[in-house]
Symmetry: C2
Subunit: 176 residues, 2 copies
């Protein structure tokens, strides 16, 4: 296979080793985080657009097959296990509102490694409920991701408001 002469081979070997060592060394450090973080920000933006339109299929697209997905949502129960349970949660939530929703995201923080990532952000939710009541509150949202088949997929959601422990009430009027 290899048919180079001695000196040429020395040069080739040195060059090959240098190139490969640079390549190897680059793997742990340069996990293409800016590209991955941009991909995750785009994923969040697709989710946000779908959420505002109450488009359940569009929203669910970020969760892949949802097989190992678990959500801790703002509403009970403690946990939604699996994509289908979370889809039902979205359907019930969207069904409670008239017309589109507003969802603004404040300064999302996205951190990506090679195959695992997370994001957290404050979200401003606005809308009109079917009974006529207005919803206007700030939520905390944490979302985690895995890269599966070269594509980032959301694997866990945690959405909440704080609780006033003295009164047992959810604190729905906080602003960042």
């Amino acid at each position: 296979m290899l048919s180079l002469g001695g000196d040429t081979m020395k040069t080739a070997l040195t060059a090959a080793l240098a190139a490969i060592l640079v390549g190897c060394a680059a793997v742990p450090a340069a996990t293409a985080a800016p590209k991955d973080e941009a991909e995750i920000k785009a994923l969040i933006e697709r989710w946000r657009t779908a959420f505002q339109k109450k488009d359940v299929d569009g929203v669910m697209a970020i969760y892949g097959d949802g097989k190992d997905f678990v959500a801790y949502d703002i509403v009970p129960p403690l946990a939604y296990v699996g994509g289908p349970a979370y889809r039902k949660d979205y359907e019930e939530f969207f069904g409670a509102f008239d017309g589109p929703l507003g969802l603004e995201i404040k300064d999302p923080q996205v951190v990506a490694g090679d195959t695992v990532a997370y994001a957290y952000m404050l979200e401003h939710l606005t809308g009109t409920m079917k009974g006529g009541g207005k919803t206007d509150l700030w939520l905390r949202s944490t979302e985690t991701y895995r890269k599966i088949g070269g594509k980032w997929v959301a694997t866990h959601d945690h959405v909440s408001v704080p609780t006033d422990m003295a009164s047992g009430k959810a604190v729905l009027d906080l602003k960042p």
Copy 2:
């Protein structure tokens, strides 16, 4: 530097390339996830032990320098920014209780990549408040991590209970 003859060098080059390519190929696949996940489970267990003893220094040890840390805690405000703010939150929380706390963790899910990881779990908190009231509730906890200087550090916490949106009350009596 290299002083091998032609044939010997061919063999050496082939062997070196093979060894290096195997090494390179192994980097993305084998991110030592089981080892990393075990390290993170040990971190959570150290935190749990310190939490039960109301040992603020022990608790804070998992957050490294806390420089980029942000927590969404069960109590207001929406966010605690930086380690010192979160330490104060822990101090106030621990100060509200007489004696040690109980904290049981149900089935923590830990997912680790090369330098980024996350965990989520349900936590059963029990204790006696200074006024004599008993605390006995299940929380949802999500925590994210980065590997910094070869060591896993917690970078973000999200702790909550669900909210009953009709009554505006926190739902404190759920069980998994």
